[in-house]
């Protein structure tokens, strides 16, 4: 989702979780993120979060080929961008410095 306006780069806890999961698994579908988050991400909100993160440039997505024979729609699979990776690293290293317990 290309952003029409430049925005302040912020990272909410949910976005951080999405980045962490995507960095761990390389690429995931929306529902796989919900399953991997063990209840921290919800079906009703995960796609809005993903859309917002794509708009911010943290992640990127591509469409799969449409499933054959079922008439279903192609699935969208998500991966982390370089910006998303840097954002994640910056946040986690910053957090380790601010909250020493997190770095142990």
């Amino acid at each position: 989702m290309p952003s029409p306006h430049p925005r302040l780069l912020t990272l909410s806890p949910k976005e951080l979780l999405v980045l962490e999961l995507l960095l761990r698994h390389q690429e995931l579908y929306g529902l796989q993120l919900v399953a991997a988050s063990r209840g921290q991400l919800k079906r009703g909100t995960v796609y809005v979060t993903l859309g917002r993160m794509e708009e911010k440039g943290y992640i990127t997505s591509k469409l799969d080929a449409p499933p054959s024979g079922t008439g279903g729609m192609p699935r969208r699979i998500y991966t982390v961008t370089a910006l998303g990776r840097r954002m994640f690293m910056a946040w986690t290293s910053g957090a380790k410095q601010l909250v020493p317990e997190w770095g142990r």
């Binding site: 989702m1 925005r7 579908y29 929306g30 529902l31 919800k42 079906r43 009703g44 909100t45 796609y47 809005v48 993903l50 859309g51 917002r52 794509e54 997505s61 499933p67 079922t70 008439g71 279903g72 729609m73 192609p74 699935r75 969208r76």
Partner: protein, 908 residues
Amino acid sequence: MRPPGTLLRAVAVRLFAANTIDYVIDPAIADMQAEYEDASRRGLSWRKRWICLRGYLSFFAMIVAHGRAVRAMNGGVTRLRGLSLDVRLALRLLVKHLGLTVVGTIAMAFAIWSGIVAFEFYTQIMRPALPLAGGDRIVGIVMVDTATRGERAPTLHDFVAWREALTSVPDLAAYRDRNWNLIVGDAAPEPVPVAEISAATFRVLRERPVLGRPLVEADEKPDAPWVVVIGHDVWQSRFASDPNVIGRELRLGNVPHTIVGVMPEGFRFPLAHGFWVPLRLDPVNYPRQQSPVLRVFGRLAPGATVETAQPELTVLGVTLARRSLGEGGAAAASPDTHKQLEPQVVPYIDSIFGGFSADSTSEVFSGNLLSVLLVFLVCGNVALLMFARAATRENEILLRTALGAGRGRIMGQLFVEALVLAMVAALVAVTFAQLAWHSLFAMVTENMFDNRVPFWMHSSVSPRTLVYAALLTLVAAAIAGLLPGLKVTRGIGTRLRQSGPGGGGLRFGGIWTVLIVMQVAVMAIVPTPVIAIYGDAVKGARAAKAGLVPEQYLAATMAMDRGKVPGAADATFTDRFTAATQELERRLEAEPGVTGVTVASVLPLMDHPSRQIDVDEGRAAPADRTVGHRWVSSASVALDFFDVLDAPILSGRAFHSGDLLPGARTVIVNQSFAQVVLGGNNPIGRRLRYVSLTQQNGNDPWYQVVGVVRDFGIDPEDRDPRRDSRRARVYHPLVPGGSYPVRMAVHTTGDPLLFASRLRSIARDVEPTLQISEIARFDQVAAAGARTMTLLFWAFLALAFVVVLLSLTGIYSVLSFTASQRTREVGIRVALGGRPGHVVAVLFRGPMTQIVLGILIGLVIADRISEGDMVRVIAVYGCAVVAISALATLGPVRRALRIQPIDALRAE
């Protein structure tokens, strides 16, 4: 079939911008579809439904989340392109007033749900459309007794005479229903419904086989080879869709038939048949008195209708009656009876059911009407809640009016709010209606069609019903939205000029007051039938356990092919049947793991026939004066019946072979009989006789009681006099061949169901034409009987829940509304030193009077309609209703007492 979420996407495209569709909606739907496909592949039908339901619910959560996200990104400006202001407002209100959304959704969903189920019942069972080419032109012809209005099936002679003379129904065909054992290869025999049917059927119905040929007139000749046309399902399941099935053989009973055709998928005419054999009946071979009974149907001639065909048939009927009188046939033997018979053309479905009288049709129609009334009633209640909500938004409405919004614009907004709520409710209603229809469908096919699915019925809710549901949704939205709209906007100009900043010009009117009293009354009444039905269900479950170990017994019904087919034994049918059942019993008893086998006309836990009796002159319990005679249930049982069921004879003796002699006339009664009929006196030696309802001539034979057996299969704690006839039982000795069909009970040491296949196999060895059906464990027999009661219980419980929920929220909203409208008055009273208790009393005197009045009215009615032993229950429930109502007042009371005088006065 469209993949799930297609409709949802179509809605979303109207609501959201393309970017949102591509990056938010489409990924969600694609993931849901993938999950659904995975469940499909694994055959998990329940999981599929759950995925859809969860997907739809998530969609609403997504709308809210998306709205918040966009608002956050755009500094409070929402960019829901294409979404009208009213719909956006309505969606936000759904989330903001979550309580009203939940209550309103549940209530409206229940009303729409009941409408869907009632409509589906009407359109699938009472007035279905036949899925045949020109199905509405297919008619049946029945004989109607003009004196009793009862229907009788026509005979072969009637059919032949009509076929030759009737011009309004030129294509006429007939069939008779058979039940024969099917044997394909080495498979175990299985009873299947077979239609012996005229070759003309395929012309009348305009249906052609997909393979081979239909039956033709030449197949009806007596010396023609035996042929059969099979159904698509049979072709797939029994012959693995073999393209070379034509010419293969199968056995129906003990006669091999050659397959000549395969009918298309879904063709199961005349009811739920998969086998069609030629009807080979020549009237020359039958005297008129013994003419076989048939079902006759045909296609109306072009331009003819049921009404125009009837006069011709009536004239023909009179002519034929006269001719038969002249011939000295059956009519001459009983001319009065024959004179009363009149042939009638009826829609095909009516000729099948026969029992659906005008009364029962009107009952179902009334049921539909009732469900529509329920929509009105429930939506009236929801309207009350919507009105209370609209009253809290009076300032907003006044402001919009001041800015130029007309009355229509305000009402339109309230209608859209109600429509969005009603659509959510409709979604829930359709989902649950699908589940309910599944249960109802299973119950109907089990009770009315012996677990066979008629060709016009389907287990899913039809598209026509969905259109009806959409109409109900519109009606619901109109009531819940427009009524408050009318009330809120009435005199809005005056209020705009007169009101201060606090608004407060709105008042509840007389109609709402009556509505509140009524719904509180209904809340008090509604548990009465629920408790009664629950009581019946509990009694049924208790009866299943009483005096029996139902898990150890296998029940089965035995019948035999009655068809007069070549190769049949020369012995009479009854003799053959008796010999077969006795041999089967003997073979079963020799099986390891079987400890006993017995037969009876009816088994414990099944419905026993009830009959009226007279007892001899000795002492008896006082008879019911309104009836004059006592009712008992009866059964004919084999000599070893009580031994096998482990029911000891408490006094007197058991049956022995002497009781089977003609003129022996002995019976055994149960303990309840002695208690209910004889007032606890000793029944041994007493005599009883059955009383005919129509002829009380006193010539019925007397039966002597020779023994008393322990009660079993009867609820020991049931003391309800209305069920005396079920408890008091009379057992007759079963003469071999004295019951057809006959029920068998097999006592096994392990799980009886594991023995079912062995039972079928032994039966096949004994006699291939012996039909074993309704195999079930005793406890399953009881469960089948309780299913209707369970469904009824849940429906009433849901109704009770909705009524109570609506009443409580109604009370809550009225009190909240009262408190908010009298803010200034409360402030002044507190400022002048009014005590809190007094202020609350003044504030809520009116609403509480309505509640108490409603409860009193409801409890009085509940007391009238309930049985004696429910008075205590009603009293307890009455207290509970008062307590719950008081709880509903807590919030508004607290809110009223928190009002500070300075705040109240500042509002001015």
